[in-house]
């Protein structure tokens, strides 16, 4: 028995003898190296996954937007066509008004406040109507002369 031991009970758990070697499964440098590299590999994989998910989302949206673009493109064409017809009619009617300084076809003004397109279309129709009305008297006379 250890002569230093004074009681039957040890207050401190028995200490490791110098000769004993605690069997700790020591991790080798190679394993450690690969562990650290795995941080990067995992990060890359995580990023790839994230991108994949987002790409799937985007793919859906792109398909939807393309459809909408096709619609708006048609709509635009109709508006342009209507505008052009009105414009041609207006020019024709203003032909006799020699005093009037003629101008080119108006440029689109994108700064207008966002409103449904129909409203603008209607306003355009009404403006044309008003223009026509302003020219009406003469037209009426002419028509009478023709008749």
């Amino acid at each position: 028995m250890n002569p230093m031991m004074t009681t039957m009970f040890e207050s401190v758990p028995s200490q490791r003898q110098s000769e004993e070697v605690i069997e700790v499964p020591a991790i080798s440098a190679v394993e450690r190296y690969k562990e650290i590299i795995a941080i990067a590999t995992d990060a890359a994989a995580r990023q790839r996954k994230l991108d994949e998910v987002r790409c799937a989302e985007l793919a859906e949206r792109i398909a939807a937007t393309q459809h909408e673009i096709a619609e708006v493109r048609d709509r635009e064409r109709v508006v342009r066509m209507g505008a052009a017809l009105h414009w041609e009619a207006a020019v024709e009617q203003l032909w006799d008004e020699r005093w009037l300084q003629m101008v080119t076809f108006p440029q689109p003004d994108e700064s207008v406040p966002p409103r449904p397109q129909g409203e603008y279309n209607r306003v355009m129709d009404l403006a044309y109507q008003a223009l026509e009305d302003s020219l009406a008297k003469r037209t009426l006379l002419r028509r009478k002369q023709k008749d």
Binding site: E19, S28, A29, V30, R32, Y33, I36, I37, A38, I39, A40, T41, A43, A44, R46, Q47, R48, L50, D51, E52, R54, L58, A59, R61, I62, T65, E68, I69, V72, R73, R75, E76, V79, R80, G82, A83, H86, A90, L94, W99, L100, V103, P106, Q107, P108, D109, E110, V112, R115, Q117, Y120, V123, M124, L126, A127, Y128, A130, L131, S134, L135
Partner: protein
């Protein structure tokens, strides 16, 4: 205002309104279209960037030069309406992508490269990782005791997919850990060559020259691969193999692996590294570099290479395989070179692009190799000394699995002797002058410096003065001793019994250990030590020099020796008891070679120059041409492939073994070893058994001399009060007889208080007078009553004593309480006188003597008599009845004369100087040889 003007104004206003309305209608729809298109473009952009990977996308030229506008109305070919579209437009999307990216790589970016740099720096010090400037050209100094760098640098890596590409060192495991497989493209083969060269130089510059051997085979060329390494061939550190002879290289590696398995990987060790432990690397590494041409090897070579790869790492064989397609069933790291010179490797995975380190400067490599070769030559040619056998720090090794110690040098490399479970015992042969003593000293010194006395005990015996182990015991000039020595026997000469005693001791110890092992339910010492860590179970090495003396004659000693030797040889291995037997000429020792059970256990054979039969002759004649100071060490029972030739350093000169002994003794002397010196006579006053004697014992003990045993104990006879307790000394030489009688009387004197016992000394031959007087003086000095009578007083002494005994026997007197010892020198000289009868009583002196012998012991009266011959003794005894002499010591008397006094074993006794044959019929089954004490009379 006129009506006309009024109309005009109206028209102008209406036309202005109309123009604005057209602009607004067009603008509104155009904006809607543009916004949708922009959102769509952004989505496309993000889709593209994420789809190809942000890292690659940012590098992508196409994306960088992305069109700066977006065509909104593709139908207007001539003047397309354009929406501005620059990277800035997408900054928000890109920022989000980059944020995600950074988040994903956050841990890596903040810790990864830094940790890798730290790791490589910590496990790959010096040449293993530093740039060549600090080491190239300086031969390595490591001997493997500090371990092997776990990683070896090959270049720099970056994680290409990371947001911030921080470079970090890329390193691969090599020696003992993993092979290396390199594959290149036709354009990058030179990069592979440089990688191999750099790695080899790193390894070669890390370790002491000689610890790494390189073999190169290139399918394409005989010379030319790794030209910078050629200076190494000079020192045998580089072997270039013929392109057509890959099998030779593979055979060599296979053979090496086989040898390591049989010689080094014993006692359950799985790798050379485990055997070397924390000590110096005992087995050099062999690196085989194989350059292929991207075509598979022949089937048989492929298989052999796979075998080498599978078993090589454990045996120190490392493969660098370049451009040979092969799968290997053992740890291997792969470096694959891309066409652009970068590489990826299995250490770092596919996300890391490795840029290999620059090739070493072309001019410096041959110079560095020359320096390594030179250093190697220098080491090889250096006279390795006794000091080089010793470890840096003494007593650090553990002997659980066996003991191993270098005994000499081969080309500057240590050659070891190993004693363990697979090589349990050693046989050494060498004629006188061949350096046997020197070898034994080298071996013992090397062992004792490595293992502490708690790990190793030595029992040393020399029969002849050829080798002297006397130095290992304390002497007059040198008080130190070898702390490991438990017993030193010197000048044993004809005391072959001592050899038997040693073997018997070992046999008993073996049994004791086997019993202890059994209690712990194990069978081997190694396991016993593991089970009983608190116990003291050192390995025992018993060296018996000139052991042939043990078997010198056809007698019981030889028979006993043979039997015990067989016992110890066969079973000692598992109990950690190892025999080292040496002899000038082992060839004709029948007791040894006659029994295969014995000599087959002596697997370690050590032949000194001109030694015969130690090695397996005639195939193995290595000892014949061995130069002086050399030895053949063979752990394979002497067969030729097991030969290791080494030069044994001078270990007997002043300052070698003696110095080591003093150092170790100062460190921890322990108990002095027992010494048996056949040329010395034991001094009774120095004998422990004598000193232990005390008055007060009912039956005093008589010490007659020293028995030849390991403990050096005394031969004793108990003087109980029973018939026959008399002692006869038979022999013609007064010195021997006086020594026995003197020792016996002195030991009796020690067991009585003053005046308690009566000593009557009768000196019947003149030569014995000085001894008798000396004894009387000694007894008187102890306070005893000691009278000396001469021949004229003998008759009266005997008659009186006989009459006294008669009166007690007839009840006329009480039994005398006082012990009475009659010490008679040369009883037979008074025979004629004693034969005369008393005219009155018709009784002779012989009758009185017989009465004293017959009835004395039970009445505490004992005779210690010296007769000068067996017949003369018999004449003093009743015809044919000799049992009144219970114990006797015979000197110069032939064995057959003693037959009537003892068992048949006495037959083999033949007289030898200063040795007596002792037999106590009450206690012994066979006689013992004793050495009479020196009672101090001579001085």
């Amino acid at each position: 205002m006129s009506r006309r003007d009024d109309r005009r104004t109206k028209i102008e206003t209406a036309f202005g309104e109309f123009q604005r309305a057209v602009s607004a209608a067009l603008g509104s729809v155009a904006r809607e279209h543009r916004l949708l298109a922009t959102e769509h473009a952004k989505d496309m952009f993000e889709f593209t960037v994420r789809g190809m990977g942000v890292d690659r996308a940012l590098q992508d030229v196409a994306l960088k030069n992305v069109t700066s506008f977006l065509t909104v109305d593709e139908k207007r070919q001539k003047n397309p309406r354009q929406a501005p579209l620059s990277m800035a437009e997408f900054a928000e999307r890109l920022d989000q992508i980059k944020y995600d990216w950074q988040q994903s790589f956050h841990e890596w970016t903040t810790t990864g490269p830094e940790q890798l740099t730290e790791l490589v720096n910590s496990v790959a010090a010096g040449p293993a990782s530093l740039p060549h400037g600090s080491w190239l050209g300086h031969p390595g100094t490591h001997d493997g005791s500090e371990g092997v760098p776990e990683l070896w640098r090959i270049g720099t890596g970056v994680v290409t997919s990371a947001p911030t590409p921080v470079p970090f060192p890329v390193a691969v495991p090599l020696l003992d850990q993993a092979h290396l497989h390199i594959s290149s493209t036709p354009d990058t083969r030179h990069v592979a060559d440089s990688l191999v060269e750099s790695l080899l130089l790193r390894v070669l510059s890390h370790f002491q020259p000689g610890l790494v051997h390189v073999h190169v085979w290139d399918v394409g060329q005989l010379t030319g691969s790794l030209p910078g390494l050629y200076p190494l061939t000079r020192a045998n550190l580089l072997t270039v193999h013929d392109p057509a002879r890959l099998h030779e290289l593979l055979d060599e590696m296979s053979e090496h692996i086989r040898q390591v398995h049989t010689k080094v990987l014993v006692d359950g060790h799985l790798t050379v590294r485990a055997v070397s432990g924390e000590g110096r690397r005992t087995e050099p590494w062999r690196i085989a570099v194989l350059f292929g041409n991207r075509k598979a090897l022949k089937e048989d070579q492929q298989q052999q290479l796979q075998r080498v790869a599978r078993n090589g790492l454990a045996c120190g064989v490392q493969l660098f395989i370049v451009d040979i397609p092969i799968t290997i069933n053992s740890p291997v790291e792969t470096v694959s070179l891309r066409g652009d010179g970068t590489a990826f490797c299995t250490m770092t995975g596919k996300d890391v692009t490795v840029t290999l380190d620059e090739a070493l400067p072309r001019t410096l490599v041959p110079r560095a190799c020359a320096a390594i070769a030179e250093k190697r030559e220098e080491r090889r040619s250096r006279m390795s000394t006794f000091g080089d056998l010793l470890p840096d720090r003494p007593w650090t090794e553990n002997s659980s699995a066996g003991v191993i110690a270098p005994v000499g040098f081969d080309d500057g490399e240590q050659v070891c002797v190993q004693l363990g479970d697979t090589s349990p015992h050693a046989l050494i042969g060498g004629p006188s002058g061949s350096g046997k003593t020197n070898f034994l000293y080298a071996m013992l010194g090397s062992l004792c410096a490595r293992y502490s006395p708690n790990e190793l005990e030595l029992y040393l015996l020399d029969f002849k003065e050829g080798v002297s182990f006397a130095q290992f015991a304390p002497g007059r000039k040198d008080p130190s001793w070898l702390p490991h020595a438990r017993l030193v026997g010197v000048n044993v000469n004809t005391d072959r019994e001592f050899g038997v005693a040693l073997l018997r001791f070992l046999s008993d110890e073996m049994r004791r250990r086997a019993d202890a092992a059994k209690q712990h339910e194990v069978t081997k010492l190694e396991h016993l030590r593991a089970e009983d860590p608190g116990g003291r179970w050192p390995r025992i090495v018993a060296v018996i020099d000139e052991f042939q003396y043990l078997f010198g004659e056809r007698d019981q000693v030889t028979a006993a020796a043979t039997q015990l030797l067989e016992d110890v040889a066969r079973r000692g291995r598992s109990q950690g008891i190892h025999l080292v037997l040496s002899s000038q000429d082992v060839s004709g020792i029948e007791g040894f070679w006659g029994k295969s059970a014995i000599f087959e256990q002596f697997t370690v054979r050590i032949a000194l120059p001109k030694a015969r039969r130690v090695l397996a002759e005639p195939q193995n004649d290595a000892a014949v041409e061995l130069p002086r100071w050399h030895a053949v060490i063979n752990h394979e029972s002497g067969v030729k492939p097991g030969n290791e030739i080494c030069r044994v350093p001078d270990s007997t000169a002043k300052g070698t073994m003696d110095f080591l002994q003093t150092e170790l003794w100062r460190r921890e002397p322990g108990r002095a070893p027992g010494l048996f010196d056949g040329s010395k006579i034991p001094l009774i006053d120095a004998t422990q058994d004598f000193l232990d004697l005390r008055p007060g014992e009912a039956s005093p003990t008589v010490l007659l001399g020293q028995v030849i045993d390991v403990a050096g104990s005394a031969a004793r006879v108990r003087f109980a009060r029973t018939p026959g307790r008399n002692i006869a000394v038979i022999g013609s030489v007064v010195q021997d007889a006086a020594a026995v009688l003197g020792g016996a009387a002195a030991s009796l004197g020690r067991q009585h208080h003053p005046h308690e016992a009566r000593f009557s000394l009768a000196c019947l031959v003149e030569e014995a007078m000085p001894s008798a007087l000396y004894l009387a003086k000694r007894l008187s000095a102890d306070g005893h009553d000691a009278e000396v009578v001469q021949i004229d007083g003998l008759r009266r002494l005997l008659d009186e004593t006989a009459a006294q005994l008669q009166s007690i026997n007839t009840g006329q007197a009480d039994a005398p309480m006082q012990p009475h010892y009659l010490v008679l020198y040369g009883v037979d000289a008074a025979q004629t006188l004693l034969e005369q009868k008393d005219p009155a009583t018709r009784m002779s002196g012989v009758d009185s003597l017989r009465t004293v012998l017959k009835h004395g012991p039970e009445n505490r009266t004992h005779v210690l008599g010296w007769w000068r011959g067996v017949q003369r003794l018999k004449a003093s005894l009743p015809p044919g009845v000799y049992d009144d002499i219970g114990a006797w010591v015979a000197f110069d008397v032939q064995g057959k004369e003693l037959l009537s006094l003892g068992p048949e074993q006495v037959m083999s006794w033949s007289p030898r100087p200063r040795r007596g044959l002792f037999f106590d019929r009450f206690e012994h089954s066979r006689p013992q040889v004793i050495i009479p004490f020196d009672t101090g009379e001579a001085s």
